[in-house]
């Protein structure tokens, strides 16, 4: 379990330069376990890494929004997002896991399952 103090330090170390609300949501999720906050963290990190992000927050887009076709997400963006999420939440994803993820909802659900210790099924 990550403590609130650890989360605050990780926010300082690893989210420097990211929009402040991502750090706020991250700390809130660690403190309270509210998965809506987790969604905001994952999608906020993804949005920050997109070369051409949409003007509106990803969290406000339909969950069926496609990562590659609709958002122009490339493999480097996915890996950057993955690395940061792994560091923030102390999880490890396999090399090819995210290759099967195609939408925003699938992405968030994949991380949620890892964080809760469930085994993600093929999506």
């Amino acid at each position: 379990m990550i403590t609130t103090a650890e989360a605050k330090q990780r926010a300082v170390d690893q989210l420097a330069g990211f929009p402040a609300d991502i750090a706020d949501c991250y700390i809130a999720f660690v403190e309270g376990g509210d998965f809506s906050r987790l969604r905001q963290v994952i999608l906020g990190v993804l949005q920050f890494h997109l070369a051409k992000p949409p003007e509106q927050p990803l969290a406000g887009l339909p969950g069926s929004t496609r990562l590659v076709e609709d958002l122009g997400c490339d493999s480097l963006t996915m890996v950057d997002t993955l690395f940061l999420a792994e560091s923030l939440f102390d999880i490890r994803l396999g090399d090819d896991e995210l290759a099967r993820v195609t939408t925003l909802d699938e992405l968030v659900e994949h991380f949620r399952l890892h964080i809760t210790g469930s085994t993600p099924t093929s999506t």
Binding site: Q14, A16, G17, F48, L50, A51, L76, D80, F83, E86
Partner: protein
């Protein structure tokens, strides 16, 4: 058919003494130092406490998301994620060159434009990424770990970003790297292979890039920023690290004139040599550097007596400066020539592979704006410098011919001859 005349038609600076041409020129004239106190390892008291810092940028964060730069530069995320800190500086310096030379980014994509660079890579980012790889037992490897850290990082990133299709190469002759890059860029143009060459150098200012030199006791332990870097002074005790980026455009003179670009100087020739002496220490008699100067002067068809200013390599190390003094005496004093000599590293610190291009661009400013930077911080010239003219203050006189010296590990020596532009 005669070889084309080669000119410097654009300059760009992100340096400890300024982030644009006007500020750099003012610092050189007024002998305004860019060196200040610097925490190489925050929270740890170290014997080395000063550096030539880059102002208005913040690249302390390991992730580019935490970096800050002046708002006038638009840097995209897909570019940032492959850059080391000095890569960000280099992009900004190149943007200055493009504007200064009255080029467009599209002009750089023709097959007549090449790119030569010098950089030692980013030891700080490399350490970070290698730690990640080790700690994760090989599971976590950042995709851009290689291209953002190894010695070719500048040429990789700049060539891709600007769509360069001419000759591209990186030079790794340590502190002679970018002077050598300029020399070979000159050859590319005179041999008719390229019409213009963008030459860029950069280095990080960090614990990992700089502090390792303390292992060979090459860094100044003087904590006073105003006196730590003092080339040719008898009390010098080592160099002060710096970095950032500098860039210039070498070009066929006709090409520059047809575009109405500013012409800062003409490059007449260059020469190089090796000491054949030591991996890390200069030949005490300066024989290698004297040989490089002799070759550069011969290639430029210039007599020593006609040189009006020497921008020395002198980094403020006891051995290196004395070696260069001996070489200068061999070439100049021995024939009764006494050109003013100064090392602008007294103001900037020593930027390693980037030093040559930064100081060549300083020489270009001196030629076009008609001044000679003084030998700052020089209080008691080393007796080994007998016979050398080391002006303590900036001279309001324009040299017509300038010699630029550089030396690097392994005894590499490179010298360039520049002339005031005479159409």
């Amino acid at each position: 058919m005669a070889n084309p005349r080669v000119v410097i038609s654009g300059v760009g600076f992100i340096t400890s003494i300024g982030n644009d041409r006007a500020t750099v020129s003012g610092s050189l004239r007024e002998l305004k130092s860019g060196i200040e106190r610097f925490d190489f390892l925050p929270g740890v008291e170290l014997p080395i406490a000063v550096a030539g810092t880059i102002k208005d940028f913040d690249t302390r964060a390991l992730h580019w998301a935490g970096w800050r730069w002046p708002a006038e530069y638009s840097i995209t995320k897909d570019l940032l994620r492959g850059l080391p800190p000095h890569g960000l500086h280099a992009i900004c310096a190149v943007e200055q060159v493009i504007r200064d030379a009255r080029l467009t980014v599209a002009d750089l994509t023709d097959e007549d434009t090449g790119l030569f660079c010098g950089s030692a890579g980013s030891p700080r980012l490399m350490r970070h990424y290698l730690n990640q790889i080790h700690e994760s037992r090989g599971e976590r490897i950042a995709p851009m770990a290689v291209v953002s850290t190894i010695a070719g990082t500048l040429n990789f990133n700049l060539a891709a970003h600007y769509g360069i299709r001419g000759a591209v190469a990186g030079f790794v002759s340590a502190c002679a790297s970018t002077t050598q890059a300029i020399g070979y860029a000159f050859d590319e143009i005179t041999l008719g292979r390229q019409r213009r060459m963008l030459v860029v150098g950069g280095e990080d200012v960090s614990f990992e890039s700089t502090y390792a030199f303390h292992g060979m006791r090459a860094l100044s332990r003087n904590p006073d920023p105003a006196r730590a870097s003092r080339p040719f002074d008898q009390d010098r005790d080592g160099f002060v690290g710096t970095g950032g980026a500098a860039a210039l455009l070498l070009e066929d003179a006709e090409s520059a004139r047809s575009r109405g670009a500013p012409i800062y100087a003409e490059m007449l020739g260059w020469g190089q040599s090796a000491d054949g002496h030591s991996v890390a220490s200069s030949d005490p008699d300066g024989r290698g550097l004297a040989s490089a100067m002799r070759r550069a002067l011969a290639a430029a068809h210039v007599a020593p007596a006609n040189i009006g200013y020497v921008n020395a390599h002198a980094t403020s190390t006891p051995v290196g400066d004395e070696s260069e003094a001996r070489a200068l005496q061999t070439i100049f004093t021995a024939v009764g020539a006494h050109p003013p000599v100064s090392s602008t590293k007294a103001l900037t610190g020593h930027s390693l592979s980037m030093a040559g291009i930064m100081e060549t661009a300083f020489c270009a400013l001196a030629l076009t704006e008609e001044f000679i930077p003084g030998a700052a911080n020089l209080e008691n010239p080393d007796p080994a410098c007998a016979g050398l003219d080391l002006p303590r203050t900036t001279l309001a006189q324009g040299p017509r011919l300038v010699l630029k010296n550089s030396s690097g590990f392994g005894g590499s020596n490179v010298c360039l001859v520049l002339r005031r532009w005479e159409p």
